[in-house]
């Protein structure tokens, strides 16, 4: 095997849109990384990887998938929840089970509910160039947007509803329009200089929230407070 950094791309039950979007830039990716994926035919979750890119949500009623996810976490240095389903739940948060042939598959969640996630990337699906760009940034160090994607991993939902509640309805929206240009279903539109949510179109992908200059600021600041609280807790011997 070459000395290339190894990456695993693994889907846990999403729509396959995310891994296929990655595969479209496969020739470029393969020049830089040693890529392992089901679409290529060489996925093996038993071995070690530098990066694991997980797509799709985790079904909390499927022991098999939970075990797989834990194994991948153990075997990889950096774990990335890639796409809305894996990172913030996406459309699949609406799942309520009851459907044949497995009515017991009731609850789906972002993978951060089960394992520690290093970076959470919304997008349904993210554009093909996204992964190359992201891995490049992770290798070259800290930055605002990496902190943002790290902060997103502390959330188990983020959507147009949160954007409305936390930014627009609280009056801190400045009306820049970034969210409107970031919605894959055109669920946000500008009304009198403020975005409004067409609720029946929102698929809870979370893209709008991480593109909003106000919300990103809040996400990062809250994450920092949380980390500080964790540190204090560990100093006094708590969890």
């Amino acid at each position: 095997m070459s000395g290339k950094t190894s990456i695993l791309i693994y889907d846990l039950g999403g729509c396959e849109g995310c891994p296929l979007s990655i595969m479209r830039s496969y020739p470029r990716l393969a020049r830089i990384y040693d890529v392992h994926a089901k679409c290529i035919g060489n996925a093996d979750i038993e071995r070690q990887y530098n990066y694991a890119i997980i797509t799709g949500p985790i079904c909390l009623n499927s022991q098999r998938h939970i075990e797989e996810l834990k194994k991948i976490r153990k075997n990889s240095k950096i774990l990335i929840a890639y796409g809305s389903c894996a990172s913030v739940g996406g459309i699949i948060l609406y799942a309520r089970g009851g459907q044949e042939p497995r009515p017991d598959h009731r609850v789906y969640a972002p993978i951060s509910k089960i394992v520690r996630v290093d970076f959470s990337i919304p997008g349904c699906p993210p554009a093909p160039q996204m992964l190359i760009s992201l891995l490049g940034c992770i290798r070259s160090g800290r930055g605002y947007f990496l902190d943002l994607f790290k902060a997103v991993s502390a959330y188990s939902k983020l959507s147009g509803f949160d954007l409305m509640d936390e930014v627009v309805l609280t009056g801190i929206c400045v009306g820049c329009g970034a969210c409107v240009l970031s919605c894959p279903t055109n669920a946000l539109h500008m009304v009198d200089g403020r975005p409004d949510l067409i609720v029946e179109k929102c698929i809870r992908c979370g893209t709008c929230t991480v593109r909003c200059p106000r919300f990103t600021q809040i996400l990062i600041q809250r994450y920092k407070l949380r980390e500080r609280a964790k540190m204090l807790a560990s100093l006094v011997g708590g969890e």
Binding site: D11, C39, R64, A95, R96, G98, Q99, E100, T185, I203
Partner: protein, 393 residues
């Protein structure tokens, strides 16, 4: 007999093939999907129909538009609205581009079986190149290459302008040529491969199900003849491993039928090739036909005319939408309650028809290469694990 479980890779989704081997030949095979069931039919229940179209596209990242179109058709049928001419042309275009995407992606995944190392990457790159250009075309017409947002109830929400259309037509001409060149050289490269010979040799003659060559026509098939059963219902003595299966099976008129590219060509183009290779060949033929049809449709689009009906009628009703997805006949049925919200939703996807055929075709195939059989059928697991008929277990 020795049983092996093959973790299938290079197929759309998570699945295994449980194969029983006798002297190097597969004696019996079970195709087991293992992806969790997300339950889209339940997800959309109680929701606004507008949500349903956006939601069901996320059943599958491969045949997203097919679900979007079948869903919109079903809801329009229930609401009693229909798209204007532009909407019909553009919607069909989106559907065709989606089928081309899917066939090309499938080609990328099957190339490693057919073409050895030094040339392999060249073909993958060439195929992805065409795919990326198709994606650009779909972005301009549908708003995005995956889950195109311009697909709405009542038609297509944006109509491209004159300049864009002219550019697209030029682009398509180039794409058609590029594809024909790729296909020709691909065929010469594979003809010497071992596996190609095996695929040519293995024949079986299934019954076919198709509703239209390009779009979908609910009147050309009898939907009442489709029966959806549990996997256990078509197999006796199911090994316990196979009971983990998460997909359902569909039968037409009580029989196992093949649906997809070969069925369409058989019914509308008099194509007949009963070998396993014939199925792949049909896909390669379809890409060209679809590219040409796309071109034709775009020429019909009237710039300046609307692409959607601009009416949503919230009322109770029942509707059916049938669309030819990349893998075959896709059926969505919907019932709306008095508020126009969804009270019942049911989806039958092509892979549900094809699963028994994958198992039949695997029988008698050399065990060493049997993983290519499901791959050549191009099963779509994200789709097939979202299905119906509620009864107690």
């Amino acid at each position: 007999m020795e049983a092996t479980v093959i973790d299938l890779q290079r197929v759309g989704g998570e699945a295994e093939l449980l194969a029983y081997d006798l002297d190097g030949i597969v004696e019996k095979a079970y195709f087991i999907t293992t992806a969790p069931v997300r339950g889209f039919e339940r997800i959309v229940k109680g929701k606004n129909p507008v949500f349903a179209v956006n939601a069901v596209m996320r059943i599958c990242g491969i045949c997203h538009a097919a679900h979007g179109i079948a869903s919109a058709e079903a809801i329009e049928d229930a609401m009693g609205v229909s798209p204007p001419a532009n909407g019909r042309y553009l919607r069909e275009t989106i559907g065709l581009l989606n089928k081309i995407q899917s066939h090309l992606m499938h080609l990328v995944m099957i190339i490693p079986d057919l073409i050895p190392e030094p040339e392999r990457m060249k073909y993958i790159v060439a195929t992805l190149n065409i795919l990326n250009k198709i994606n650009d075309v779909l972005t301009k017409i549908g708003g995005s290459p995956t889950h195109p947002p311009y697909l709405v109830i009542g038609g297509v929400s944006r109509v491209p302008d004159e300049k864009t259309l002219v550019n697209l037509l030029e682009e398509l001409d180039k794409l058609i040529e590029e594809y024909i060149v790729l296909r020709r050289s691909f065929k010469t490269s594979i003809s010497s491969s071992d596996i190609y010979g095996q695929l040519r040799f293995k024949k079986h003659k299934p019954k076919y199900l198709a509703s239209h060559m390009f779009y979908g026509d609910k009147y050309s098939i009898r939907i009442d003849k489709i029966r959806v059963v549990r996997y256990e219902d078509i197999h006796e003595d199911l090994p316990s491993k196979a009971r983990e299966n998460t997909s359902m099976i569909a039968l037409y008129d009580g029989q196992i039928v093949e649906t997809g590219p070969r069925a369409r060509l058989n019914k509308y183009y008099d194509y007949s090739d009963d070998s396993l290779w014939g199925l792949q060949e049909a896909r390669l033929i379809e890409i060209e036909l679809f590219l040409k049809r796309t071109r034709e449709l775009l020429e019909k689009v009237e710039v300046g005319e609307s692409g959607h009906s601009k009416v949503l009628v919230y009322r109770s009703g029942k509707g059916t939408g049938v669309f030819e997805a990349p893998r075959g006949t896709l059926i969505h049925t919907v019932e709306l309650d008095d508020n126009g919200r969804i009270s019942k939703y049911k989806i039958i996807v092509p892979t549900m028809f094809n699963i028994p055929l994958i198992e039949q075709a695997a029988q008698g195939f050399p065990s060493k290469h049997v993983d290519i059989v499901p791959r050549i059928y191009d099963p779509c697991i994200p789709c097939s694990t979202h299905i119906i008929r509620l009864d107690s277990r």
